[in-house]
Amino acid sequence: MSKKDIMGEIAKANSSVIKGVDKSEIKHWANIYIMGQRYEVPADLTIMQAMEYAGFRFIHSCGCRAGFCGACSTIYRLKGDYRLKTAMACQTRVEEGMFLVQLPFSPAVKPRWNIEKTGYEDGAFLAYFPEIARCVSCNTCTKACPQDLQVMDYIQAALRGDFKKVSELSFDCIQCGMCAVRCPAEIVHYHVAQFGREMYGRYGYPRNAVLDKRVSDIKKGVYDKEFKDLVKKNKDELVKIYKDQLANKDKFIKGG
């Protein structure tokens, strides 16, 4: 098989992902409702892909398309059900009878803090986020979280001033804002979590002496001569250094 065939075949196999799905290839369909209007879409697509198939071109409500950025928050209800559900449009397959609305922002307030000057003490959470004391433990935030985090538990940990627990429980937060939108106590959970993680990252560990020394060595010019020599070398000499370095790597990276 020639090279051209290979690349052509790959492009052909990927065409539905790159150029959008073709109607003739679709075997299974679903009816979804976008802002009240019904659209028939391929049942295999995510909510985001299905809306694009239906003709919507995203400006808001679409970011990384891979579940990391929290831009595509979606609230939906299924036909015949009364409950409102939440999802990330890029990570959720469409279902028959979905009534959808996109929520590009949660218009929440963020208190400002100065990481240098804020005291690493139990009461810091309440000083910046007094509203967390109003938490009624209804667990609505946890149910709303598309990352399946234990949101209510980290708010309770914040009330106790437990920076470590807040950091661990909230680490995978993509800051989509669904928790804040659903909370009856008007708590902005993801900002509470951000504050807790930053404080723990800054003050929860002892300063790293090895890193500090490396930085001060660099500033003192400890490596300047070595670099000066390296930059002068020709390609063959550099290739040799590289090969030697790689040949000896096992004793340093074993047990990776």
């Binding site: 090279k3 051209k4 690349m7 790959i10 492009a11 052909k12 990927n14 065409s15 992902v17 790159i18 959008g20 799905v21 073709d22 075997k27 295999d44 697509l45 892909q49 694009e52 239906a54 003709g55 071109r57 400006i59 808001h60 679409c62 970011g63 891979a66 579940g67 990391f68 950025c69 831009a71 990570q91 959720t92 400002r112 803090w113 990481i115 950091s167 680490f171 995978d172 951000q194 993680r197 930053e198 990252g201 800054r202 002892p206 790293n208 090895v210 890193l211 490596y223 070595e226 670099f227 390296l230 930059v231 390609k235 590289y242 370095q245 790689l246 790597k249 340093f252 990276i253 990776g256």
Partner: protein, 555 residues
């Protein structure tokens, strides 16, 4: 619903049959592994199967500073195109925003630049960060594996330098690479000071892992959410300082002084309302990221929605020099199934921790940690030359990445603890990657080249700095894992400091004009390029064909 639609643990029957073969060979593969390729064997597979070694996908640029240089056709199409706006309908006399430093792009590079400009004495109200989408919607936030920093006792910046130089086939700009590796420990100290939570051991020391092409353990990760954690902390600091920021306002053209050619501002276009704004700046930092959404050679991509090469297109029109435009990085392990997540990144760390590539028969066929270009080519060969790939229901092919091996090697719970993001993503589509392998195929990942930079972030055009993926030179023709987030943070910081110094020395504003576009238009004409194409494209087009064919543009 039909028979073929029924899935067992997320997979159709045909793929389940292949998984049984993978399971049958697993215990044997635990003890043996395919040896690494010789340099000659690497060259063979690259020549046969790597998209970059296939000249038909590229062409020589017909105009501009880099005339004659090869670039992917998709990139050349955007360079050889007309401006997006009709300049006659834009009034440059009314300046809407007057600032000292304009930063274009809000990923790790742009955000770091804003913070360092402020640290170096520029008041926040004299800085403006503009974004095409939201602040943080970027490739940075999607980075999983880690950030390389030579901070351990057995490591050093010169060792890091040599690893990156070899990985880049000795084509990196040495002075720029030296700045990258020397500033890496400084950047790590800065990030931990702002509260970035890197993976730590019980005693508080950093967890360090090896990556493809590193001779030391140098990867600093935040689980598999490294870029997200770094970005959300830096962005929060940015917000705490109240640095001005505009979202959904892409730059559609840069402005230049008609006399000196210096970059003096930009035209913003508010996506929601269609209104334009004129920004005058004394220095501009371009941090617009890469080009994955151009789907070079028809590949799916790991990149975010806005990765459309805007920065390179805009800078090139002002006369900025590019380099290494001929190379594209394909990541070996993009998701190949299910259809909903095709192309999304499965971090190299999965192979660092023991995951093995396996074909349809359950046989290992390649050393798991070859350089990215070699590994990707071997996957393509297995699928399209040897015919031993796994077919998906939508006609794609892929090879298995045997993830259950990781728990067997590293102990139960290793996958869940190290890859919560990946486990979650597959679980959403009914697949348990702790029990079952996942299907992978190479995906378009990174723009190796870009606007040529010097160690201070400067380009050949006065008033225009670059940082991050849009820049070219630091990685040469191939980037190693963990050097991209590092590039963004280090050169974001450096460009912010360079900009601040520049502002202190240059008090004059230049005039605003589109003069560079007149020259560009003339070049297009003289090169005989007759085209309707306009650039930058800002966003890719994924709307259904059926709809696009029947759109009436009347409102």
């Amino acid at each position: 619903m039909g028979e073929e639609y029924k899935l067992i643990g997320g997979y159709p029957k045909s793929m389940r049959e292949s998984i049984k073969k993978v399971e049958a060979t697993r215990s044997k593969r635990l003890k043996t592994s395919v040896p690494a390729m010789s340099l000659a064997a690497r060259d063979d597979v690259l020549n046969l199967c790597h998209p970059d070694y296939h000249k038909e996908g590229k062409r020589a640029l017909k105009i501009g500073v880099n005339k004659g240089d090869l670039a992917p056709s998709e990139v050349a199409d955007l360079i050889e195109a007309h401006p997006l706006i009709d300049t006659r309908s834009v009034d440059l006399k009314k300046i809407d925003i007057d600032t000292d430093i304009l930063i274009i792009g809000g990923g790790l590079a742009g955000t770091s630049a804003a913070l360092l400009a402020n640290d170096n004495g520029i008041p926040v109200e004299r800085i403006l960060l503009v974004n095409k989408l939201r602040h943080g919607d970027s490739n940075s936030i999607m980075a999983q594996g880690g950030t390389q920093v030579a901070d351990s006792k057995e490591d050093s910046p010169p060792i890091h330098f040599i690893d990156a130089l070899g990985g880049g086939h000795f084509t990196n700009k040495p002075d720029v690479l030296k700045a990258l590796v020397s500033e890496a420990p400084v950047a790590l100290q800065w990030m931990t000071g702002l509260g970035v939570l890197f993976d730590r051991m019980e005693d508080g020391d950093f967890v360090r892992l090896p990556g493809g092409g590193t001779s030391r353990k140098r990867m600093h990760a935040c689980k598999d959410y490294t870029g997200m954690e770094e970005l959300r902390v830096l962005r929060d600091e940015f917000r705490n300082r109240k640095i001005p920021c505009l979202e959904f306002n892409p730059v559609v053209e840069l402005l230049t002084d008609p006399g000196t050619g210096k970059v003096t501002g930009a035209v913003l276009w508010e996506m929601e309302t269609g209104e334009y704004k004129i920004v005058r700046s004394r220095i501009t930092i371009l941090a617009t990221g890469g080009f994955g959404r151009l789907h070079i050679r028809g590949f799916p991509t790991t990149n975010h929605y806005g990765a459309t090469n805007d920065g390179v297109v805009l800078a090139y029109r002002t006369g900025a020099k590019l380099r290494d435009t001929d190379t594209v990085q394909y990541h070996p392990t993009g998701a190949a199934y299910p259809q909903q997540i095709v192309g999304l990144l499965l971090t190299e760390k999965l192979r660092s921790m023991g995951g093995q590539p396996v074909n349809v028969n359950g046989d290992a066929f390649v050393y798991p940690l070859e350089p990215r270009d070699v590994e990707a080519s071997a996957f393509i060969k297995e699928c399209y030359v040897n015919g031993l790939g796994v077919d998906t229901p939508t006609g794609m092919k892929g090879v298995w990445l045997d993830t259950p091996l990781i728990d067997l090697i590293k102990g139960k719970g290793a996958i869940e603890n190290s890859f919560p993001g990946m486990v979650r993503m597959f679980k959403r589509f009914g697949i348990d990657m702790i029990k079952d392998p996942v299907l992978v195929f190479p995906t378009l990942h990174y723009q190796n080249g870009g606007v040529e930079t010097d160690p201070e972030g400067r380009t050949n055009i006065e008033g225009l700095l670059v940082a991050g993926e849009v820049s070219g030179g630091v990685h040469g023709k191939n980037r190693l894992m963990g050097n991209s987030t590092l590039d963004c943070i280090v050169f974001g910081r450096i460009s912010g400091a360079t900009a601040a110094e520049y502002i202190k020395k240059h008090k004059e504003n230049g005039d605003l004009s589109f003069k560079h576009l007149e020259r560009y238009g003339k070049e297009l004409k003289e090169a005989g390029i007759k085209t309707e194409r306009r650039a930058p494209i800002l966003l890719p087009e994924y709307r259904g064909k059926a709809v696009l064919q029947r759109i009436l543009d009347i409102f």
